[in-house]
């Protein structure tokens, strides 16, 4: 596979643009939109899993990065399975009828987060490089602020304003937020080490994807709590759905970048060196 990012970029932008257009015009109504958006989630998660396994196959057996990308593939595969289960619930239960939340699909999502976090953790540890204290402080500070904003702005008011918030819903909201942010935080540490190298390229989309998941999952928990989440029914629901898809596509792009890493042409290298100088 040659490293040409255009096919991946076009596919990613095309998938997200399709969902935006479907949300805006809703041809065929809410049922079609639900089916299309669920299909896009499952397809991009599955594609991400396949690309992550492909990336893993490019490493020798004893190399830790092979395990890292295999774990990312397993996590994305579980998330694809969760998306398919969610689709079944949405179609099976029927339009206009609430899908249970948390549902069994949430258990699969929650389980799928573990190999993803473990994968990025092992990936960072295998680099064997410690960031400078300033870099670590900046990353920790940025994520602490983000956690405070999302938890303090959405989850905490939700839990304390009404005493009757179901504990499972609350627990899941916190788990998703912490899981997504942990994923983004560790991926950011790896990006901090590798940012100016070719091998760092896969980590930027993965960081972006994990941050989008943190945002959309927390907003989803909040929207379900205030009773406004319904596919295509309002701007908040559309924003949550589109950012979820953008998150999946970003992670798939990261896996694609890893699977297709190639040295630039010597002429490009000389140009880059000249522009640096």
């Amino acid at each position: 596979m040659r490293e040409s990012l255009w096919p991946a970029r076009i596919a990613a932008i095309g998938a997200v643009a399709t969902l935006i257009v479907l949300n805006a015009f809703q041809p065929g109504g809410a049922a079609v939109l639900e089916l299309a958006s669920d299909g896009l989630y499952a397809a991009t998660a599955l594609l991400g899993a396949v690309l992550a396994f492909l990336a893993a196959s490019r490493f020798d057996r004893q190399v830790p990065q092979r395990r890292v990308w295999s774990l990312l593939g397993i996590g994305l595969l579980l998330w694809a399975l969760a998306e398919l289960m969610w689709t079944y619930y949405q179609i099976g239960v029927g339009v206009g009828v609430d899908v249970p939340y948390p549902s069994p699909a949430d258990i699969v999502w929650a389980v799928g987060t573990a190999p993803l976090v473990l994968g990025v953790f092992l990936g960072h540890r295998s680099l064997g490089v410690r960031l400078s204290p300033r870099q670590r402080l900046a990353a920790t500070g940025a994520y602490a602020i983000l956690l405070t904003l999302l938890a303090g702005g959405l989850l905490v008011p939700m839990f304390f304003s009404q005493p009757g918030v179901p504990w499972a819903e609350a627990l899941l909201g916190v788990y998703y937020l912490i899981g997504d942010l942990t994923l983004a935080f560790i991926a950011t540490l790896s990006l901090g080490v590798l940012w100016d190298g070719l091998v760092g390229r896969p980590w930027l989309p993965i960081v972006i994807g994990a941050l989008l998941f943190a945002l959309s999952d927390t907003a989803f928990t909040y929207a379900v709590w205030i009773g406004v989440y319904s596919t295509g029914a309002n701007l908040l629901s559309a924003a949550i759905d589109v950012s979820s898809l953008a998150a999946y596509t970003a992670i798939a792009v990261g896996a694609y970048r890893q699977a297709s890493l190639r040295l630039p042409n010597p002429t490009d290298l000389h140009k880059a060196s000249a522009s640096r100088a």
Binding site: A55, R58, F59, D60, V63, P64, Q65, S126, L127, G128, V129, V193, L194, W195, D196, G197, L198, V199, G200, Q258, L261, R262, L263, P264, P266, L269, A272, S273
Partner: protein, 141 residues
């Protein structure tokens, strides 16, 4: 009876000392190349490491490796040590080492490259570490 000065060494080293220096310089260069190639294989995959090796071979091919040493490729260093003036060989290796580090830096990034080089320097046997300190073939970052 003493050996006549080698035509390859300009009379500064005995042929034995020159050969030993060439062998050590070659080992040092191979250690750097192996460390960089291994780090690239660990972070970017074996195909990328293979490309790195091929690019380094191509660079050596374009920069008179065969004409200077008589060896067909850098890989041939595993089986044979060049029999030339060790000062000239040092200049050649310093040039190739600079290119290898530049290329590896583009792949690994500055921070990881420095870590790999530091780790490679620490693993050198004492005679090669001393040679590296003297020649700065692998600049300790």
């Amino acid at each position: 009876m003493t050996q006549p000065p080698s035509r390859f060494t300009g009379g500064l080293h005995s042929p034995e000392a020159n050969a030993a220096e060439c062998a050590d310089l070659s080992l040092l260069f191979l250690a750097l190349r192996a460390a960089l190639s291994d780090a690239i294989a660990r972070t970017g995959g074996r195909a990328l490491a293979l490309e790195f090796d091929q690019r380094l071979e191509a660079y050596a091919g374009e920069h008179a490796w065969h004409a200077l040493t008589g060896l067909p490729s850098l890989d041939a260093l595993r089986g044979r040590v060049p029999d030339i003036d060790c000062r000239m060989l040092l200049t050649v290796y310093q040039d190739y080492s600079g290119y290898a580090r530049q290329l590896a830096g583009r792949l690994l990034g500055d921070q990881l490259l420095r870590s790999v080089i530091r780790s490679a320097c620490m693993k050198l046997p004492s005679n090669l570490a001393e040679l590296n300190a003297r020649t700065a073939m692998i600049p300790y970052a």
